[in-house]
Amino acid sequence: MKYLRKNDLIMLGLGLVIFAVLQTLITERIMSSFWQLNSIIIGINVIMAVSLNLINGYTGQFSLGHAGFMAVGAYVGVVLTTFFHLPFAVALLAGGAAAGFLGFLVGIPTLRLRGDYLAIATLGMSEIIRISIMNIDYVGGAAGFKGIPHHTTFAWVFFIMLFSLFFIKNFVNSTDGRACLAIRENEVAAESMGVNTTKYKVMAFTIGAAFAGVAGGLFAHSFYLISPNSFTFMQSFNYLIMVVLGGLGSITGSIAGAFVVTFISAALASWPEFRMIIYALALILLMFYRPQGLFGYMEITDYGPFRKLLKKGGRKHE
């Protein structure tokens, strides 16, 4: 067990090194502004994918409404910074809290539904959020919210991403995380092992929504303008693609999925019409050759060289 503590430190150190390298590239202007923006988008997408993975991959609840929670976090955030001139951190936290609270409220009734029905209910919920925002003139309605202060920097995104990854990794490797896994595997058996399935489904949904809200705040503050059209259900699908491509129930997978999808869409920025074709092809190929995703239920630390490096403790024991 003491390896666990050591592993966390190694991971944290690795994170800091990666940050130092990327931040140098940015400050020395070696990275073009196009890729600077994309590195921020990747970080946000990692937060979105890993939080969606907690709901879809770990707890097995098929949610299609992640963009809706992101929208709540984004709009709450921009209202606080633009109209009330509150600090960025407060706006992010408030956005996350609002989205989490909404996730909690929506979760209680909808999580009685299973599979396809839950997917449809969450899809409907995110559309309700988007259309409600469209009709609120206070936040600009359909035209969008203009004049957002540009607060989001690479450092903000990177450290919040790191925090999200650690939070969700630690959650998953605890008794609460195991309860979520049990629900995914067999709800009846989970209940008869003493797991309050409703509580943990709502908990996973709330945590996932809260992180989506924070990611929404980061997203909004990297642009001058946001509009409800940034949060359509296509966006929810986008995050789902990242999760499925990377592998359900894998944090490494979510990171990889967010990278791959963001790179593809950035590389194809000039030919947006090809993007959906490439996504579709990628997914079809994946379903043929690797239905569990790039890292289905596995972490990079479960593989040979990393196992040795970290003397892996944790979920898969030697």
């Binding site: 067990m1 003491k2 666990l4 503590r5 966390d8 939070f167 630690n170 959650f171 490797n173 605890s174 008794t175 609460d176 995380g177 195991r178 309860a179 896994l181 049990a182 595997e185 067999n186 009846v188 058996a189 989970a190 209940e191 008869s192 092992m193 003493g194 797991v195 309050n196 399935t197 908990m203 239920y297 979920r315 898969k316 024991h317």
Partner: protein
């Protein structure tokens, strides 16, 4: 019989027009090993589902250790000390054997979510304890060495044993076994019988089991209930049950 551990009084369960269990009266005393037998569709598993809160009785009362458990959710009943295995194995099949057992310790883990996420406080000591106790249970059920195997990859008999190990991890007072010997060969059944006797003594358990294998039921049960079409047709010691004309009729047919 007021000191019975589990007691059902006039319990009926109606699904639409079907009376799955009618006027079921049952008790089990602390430390007893009782069998529930009967032809397919007699209502045995329904009785289990009533005891564990999966179904709610249409009428009647069920008490556990003196308190009514009607209306409680399955997880609450588990927390009070009733654990079960399933007729059609319900393991967490994509998870490792070790994680299957660890999950069952859920109600006995004493750290909060915040402690887990921040890796503080009792997280490490509790995880260590859960791991140790899980491994000990796996050793008892001869599953050590397979901790990291996915549960779905275990052979059938081992999956049955893992289900029992997992049920014991919830630290029950009463263990309900739903056809523990289903699909086992005579040798495995014999080993299972020894194991059931042993865990009963070792863990101070009360055990209720459903079984079709008569050698097992007659071999280890102290008292037997016989169900047919949702009604209790006989109750007594194995000797009494063997001679009971009603039971012979139910099992072999004929005019009895």
């Amino acid at each position: 019989m007021s000191d019975a551990l589990l007691k059902a009084e006039n319990v009926s369960e109606v699904f639409g027009g079907l009376k799955a269990v009618s006027d079921f009266n049952f008790y089990i005393n602390p430390g007893e090993l009782v069998g529930l037998i009967g032809p397919n569709g007699a209502g045995k598993t329904t009785a289990f589902n009533l005891f564990t809160g999966v179904y709610q009785p249409t009428t009647g009362q069920i008490t556990f250790a003196g308190d009514s458990i009607v209306g409680l959710k399955p997880y609450q009943i588990t927390q009070r000390g009733i654990a079960r295995t399933f007729q059609n194995i319900r393991l967490f099949s994509e998870l490792s054997v070790l994680d299957n057992v660890k999950i069952a310790f859920h109600s006995h883990v004493k750290y909060g979510m915040l402690e887990a996420v921040l890796r503080m406080g009792r997280y490490f000591s509790e995880e260590e304890r859960v791991e140790e106790e899980s491994r000990r249970l796996l050793r008892i059920f001869h599953l050590d060495g397979q901790e990291n195997e996915k549960a779905k990859n275990l052979p059938y008999g081992a999956q049955r044993r893992l289900e029992i190990a997992r049920a014991l991890a919830t630290k029950p007072k009463l263990l309900l076994l739903d056809e523990p010997a289903a699909g086992m060969n005579p040798q495995e059944t014999k080993e299972l019988m020894d194991m059931i006797r042993w865990i009963r003594k070792e863990f101070g358990l009360t055990i209720l089991l459903i079984e079709h294998d008569m050698s097992l039921v007659m071999g280890i049960c102290e008292r037997i209930y016989v169900l047919e079409y949702g009604s209790t047709i006989a109750e007594g010691t194995p000797e009494e049950i063997k001679k009971n004309p009603e039971v012979i009729r139910a099992y072999l047919g004929g005019e009895g």
